[in-house]
C-alpha cells in the first residue's frame, strides 16, 4: 500500500519516497482512524439510550417486606424490579432436607447455609424466575405442584428445584438466584439491599 501510494503520489508530494510512507499515507490513516473513532462515539448515545433509564433505575430501589403474617410452611411473593421474589418460611423438615443433600447430587453445588442469612435460616429468599428461560416456577401457593424435591417446579420446561431453591433436575443450568437482601429486624426483610455478608 505504501508502495502504490508512494509511486502515484510522488508527483504531488514532491519527491519519490520509494517504499517510505508518504504524507498522504499518514493523512489517509489518521483521517480514516478518526472517522472510525468519531463514528463509534456518535453511535454510542443511540445504543446507550436503550439501556435502563434513570426512572427505571430509581423504580428498582429496595423494597421492605413485612414477614409477620407469614406462618411456617407458607410463602409470599413480592415484586422487585418487575420480577417476582419468593419468600418462603420453611418448615424444620424442609430445612433438614436441604441440608442433608450431598453436594455431589447437585447440578450447581451450593450449601443451604450459603443461600440464607445466619440466624434467619427459616426464611429462604430467591428470585422467582427459572434460570432456564425465565418462567415463574410453581410452588408458592397451597396446592401448587412443587416438583420432585418439594421446592418449586417450572412448568415451562420441567425444571425441579429443592427446598433451598437449588436446581435438581431439568434444563435449568443454575440454582434460583438469591437476590441482594438484608433483615432490618427479625420480621422485616429488605430486598434489593445487601446487608451482612451471606451468599
Amino acid at each position: 500500500m505504501a508502495e502504490t501510494a508512494g509511486a502515484h503520489g510522488a508527483g504531488s508530494q514532491g519527491g519519490d519516497h520509494g517504499d517510505e510512507a508518504t504524507r498522504r499515507d499518514f493523512l489517509y490513516l489518521t483521517a480514516g482512524a478518526f472517522t472510525v473513532i468519531g463514528g463509534a462515539v456518535a453511535i454510542w448515545p443511540f445504543i446507550n439510550s436503550m439501556n435502563p433509564s434513570a426512572d427505571v433505575l430509581a423504580a428498582g430501589g429496595p423494597v421492605d417486606v413485612d414477614l409477620t403474617p407469614l406462618e411456617e410452611g407458607q410463602a409470599i411473593t413480592v415484586m422487585w424490579r418487575g420480577e417476582p421474589m419468593f419468600v418462603r418460611y420453611r418448615t424444620q423438615a424442609e430445612i433438614e432436607a436441604a441440608r442433608e443433600t450431598p453436594l455431589d447430587d447437585l447440578i450447581d453445588p451450593q450449601t443451604d447455609e450459603e443461600r440464607v442469612k445466619p440466624g434467619h435460616e427459616q426464611y429462604l429468599v430467591v428470585r422467582g424466575i427459572c434460570t432456564h428461560l425465565g418462567c415463574v416456577p410453581l410452588g408458592q401457593r397451597q396446592g401448587d405442584e412443587r416438583g420432585e424435591y418439594g421446592g418449586w417446579y417450572c412448568p415451562c420446561h420441567g425444571s425441579h428445584y429443592d427446598t433451598s431453591g437449588r436446581i435438581r433436575r431439568g434444563p435449568a443450568p443454575m440454582n434460583l438466584i438469591v437476590p441482594p437482601y438484608t433483615f432490618a429486624d427479625d420480621k422485616t426483610v429488605v430486598i434489593g439491599e445487601e446487608g451482612e455478608a451471606a451468599a
Binding site: I47, M50, P52, T77, G82, E83, G158, P171
Partner: protein, 436 residues
C-alpha cells in the same frame, strides 16, 4: 453533458421521463421481456404471493399503528378497542394477524420449492443467502409483532426469547438488560419492539429488492433444474407469468380470506386474549406455529456438549438451524439441481419435511408429556431424534448423497422435455455432470 444519452423506445411524456429516469425501460426489460423458463409449475407462484403478503402486512400495519398504544397499561385495551370500536378495525387486525401466518406459509412453500428443485445451487448461492436473510428478518419482525398486543403469550414469549441472549458467555446479562431497557420485559421493551416492528418491514422490502435483482441477473430456475439454452426454452414474463402468478395469488387470497372471515383465531393461541401477567406463567408457553420447529430444536438440547451448557447449546442449535440452511449451496455436492432427477435425495427431502412436522409437534407439546399415554415415549424423546436429524440432513446427507447418488438422465433442453417432438418421445441424454 449534453442531455440524456440513452435513446428510449418510449415517446411522449413517458419517453421524456424514461430518458431522464429509465423506470419504464426497466419495467419493460425486467417484467415484460424478461425471459423465464417455459415450464414453471405452480410452485413458482409463491415468490409473487409472498411479495403480495408483504404489501398486505405493511398496508394493514400502517393503519393499525394509527390506533395502537405501545404502553403496558394500554396496549391490550387498545387492541381490544381496535377489535370493537374502530371502524373495520376487526377486519384490519384479523388481516394482519392471519396475514403473518399466510406470509410464513407462502415463504415456507417458497423455500421448499428452492430445496426440491435445487434453486440454491450455483449460480444462485447469493440469491439463496438473501432469502435466508429475509427469513431471519421475517422471524424477528413476527416475534416483535406478536409481543405488541401484550397478552399472556406476548409477554411470556418475549421473556423466553429475550432470555436466550443471557446464554451468551460473559456479556449475556448486560445484553439482555440492554435489550429490555430495564430489569425485565416491561414498558421500555414494548416501546422498542413497536419501533422495530415498524422499521423491519421496510428493511425486508429493501432486501426483497436485492433478492429480485439477484434473481434477474442469473435468471429463474425451473422444475427441470437445467439452464435455458435457447430462446425456445423461455417465454416472456408478461403476459405468461403475470397471468399465472395472478391466478395463484387469487387462489391464495381465497384461502387467506377463509381464515380471516371464518376462523380468524384458528392459528392463534387463546391465552393471548388474557392480559399479560408477570406473576403467572401460562401452563404451556407456545410460540406461533411458524416458530414451532425452531422452538423444538431449542428445547431438545437439554444436555451439555463438552463445555457448552444446555442453555447455550439450545440457542446455538436454534440459530445453527438457519446457518446450515444458508450453507446448503456448499453442503449439497450433487451437480444435478432438480429432485426430479435425484432418485435417492428426493426421499431424504421428504424425510426432512416429515422431520420438521415432527419437530413442530414436539414444539407444541409439553416436553415431558407422553406422545401416546402408556407407551412411555415423551415428546422430548422424539425431539432427541428429530432435532439431530435436521442437522444430519444438512451436514451428512446432503454432501454424501450428492457424491454417491446416480442421477437420472437429464433432458437435452427444456423445450425437448416439455413439448412433444415431431419424431415421437422427448429426447434425453445422460450427461448430468455437464450442467450446473
Amino acid at each position: 453533458m449534453s442531455g440524456p444519452s440513452q435513446p428510449s423506445q418510449f415517446t411522449g411524456a413517458v419517453g421524456w421521463i424514461d430518458r431522464r429516469l429509465p423506470v419504464f425501460s426497466y419495467l419493460e426489460k425486467e417484467y415484460r421481456q424478461f425471459p423465464a423458463p417455459r415450464n414453471f409449475n405452480y410452485f413458482w407462484n409463491f415468490g409473487a404471493i409472498a411479495t403480495v403478503m408483504l404489501v398486505v402486512m405493511m398496508a394493514t400495519g400502517i393503519v393499525l399503528a394509527m390506533q395502537y398504544t405501545p404502553h403496558v397499561d394500554m396496549a391490550f385495551n387498545s387492541v381490544e378497542r381496535i377489535m370493537r370500536d374502530v371502524n373495520n378495525g376487526w377486519l384490519l387486525r384479523y388481516l394482519h394477524m392471519n396475514g403473518a401466518s399466510m406470509f410464513f406459509i407462502a415463504v415456507y412453500i417458497h423455500i421448499f420449492r428452492g430445496l426440491w428443485y435445487g434453486s440454491y445451487k450455483q449460480p444462485r448461492e447469493l440469491l439463496w443467502i438473501l432469502g435466508v436473510v429475509l427469513l431471519v428478518l421475517m422471524m424477528a419482525t413476527a416475534f416483535m409483532g406478536y409481543v405488541l398486543p401484550w397478552g399472556q403469550m406476548s409477554f411470556w414469549g418475549a421473556k423466553v426469547i429475550t432470555n436466550l441472549f443471557s446464554a451468551i458467555p460473559l456479556v449475556g446479562d448486560s445484553i439482555t438488560t440492554w435489550l429490555w431497557g430495564g430489569f425485565t420485559v416491561d414498558n421500555p421493551t414494548l416501546n422498542r419492539f413497536f419501533s422495530l416492528h415498524y422499521l423491519l418491514p421496510f428493511v425486508i422490502f429493501g432486501v426483497v429488492i436485492l433478492h429480485v435483482i439477484a434473481l434477474h441477473v442469473v435468471g429463474s430456475n425451473n422444475p427441470l433444474g437445467i439452464d435455458p439454452k435457447s430462446p425456445r426454452d423461455t417465454v416472456p414474463f408478461h403476459p405468461y407469468y403475470t397471468a399465472k402468478d395472478s391466478f395463484g395469488i387469487v387462489v391464495f387470497l381465497i384461502v387467506y380470506a377463509a381464515f380471516v372471515f371464518f376462523a380468524p383465531n384458528f392459528m392463534g393461541h387463546p391465552d393471548n386474549y388474557i392480559p399479560a401477567d408477570p406473576l403467572l406463567t401460562p401452563a404451556h408457553i407456545v410460540p406461533e406455529w411458524y416458530f414451532l420447529p425452531f422452538y423444538a430444536i431449542l428445547r431438545s438440547v437439554d444436555f451439555d456438549i463438552w463445555f457448552i451448557d444446555a442453555k447455550l447449546g439450545g440457542v446455538l442449535a436454534m440459530f445453527g438451524a438457519l446457518v446450515v440452511l444458508a450453507l446448503a449451496p456448499w453442503l449439497d455436492r450433487s451437480p444435478v439441481r432438480s429432485c426430479r432427477f435425484r432418485p435417492v435425495y428426493r426421499w431424504f427431502l421428504v424425510l426432512l419435511v416429515i422431520d420438521l412436522i415432527a419437530l413442530g409437534y414436539v414444539g407444541a407439546n409439553a416436553p415431558d408429556d407422553e406422545i401416546l399415554s402408556g407407551l412411555g415415549i415423551t415428546w422430548l424423546d422424539l425431539g432427541h431424534i428429530a432435532m439431530p436429524w435436521y442437522f444430519i440432513h444438512f451436514l451428512v446427507v446432503m454432501p454424501l448423497v450428492g457424491k454417491f447418488e446416480r442421477p437420472l438422465p437429464l433432458p437435452l433442453s427444456i423445450r425437448d422435455a416439455v413439448l412433444p417432438t415431431r419424431g415421437g418421445a422427448p429426447m434425453t441424454t445422460a450427461a448430468p455432470s455437464k450442467q450446473a
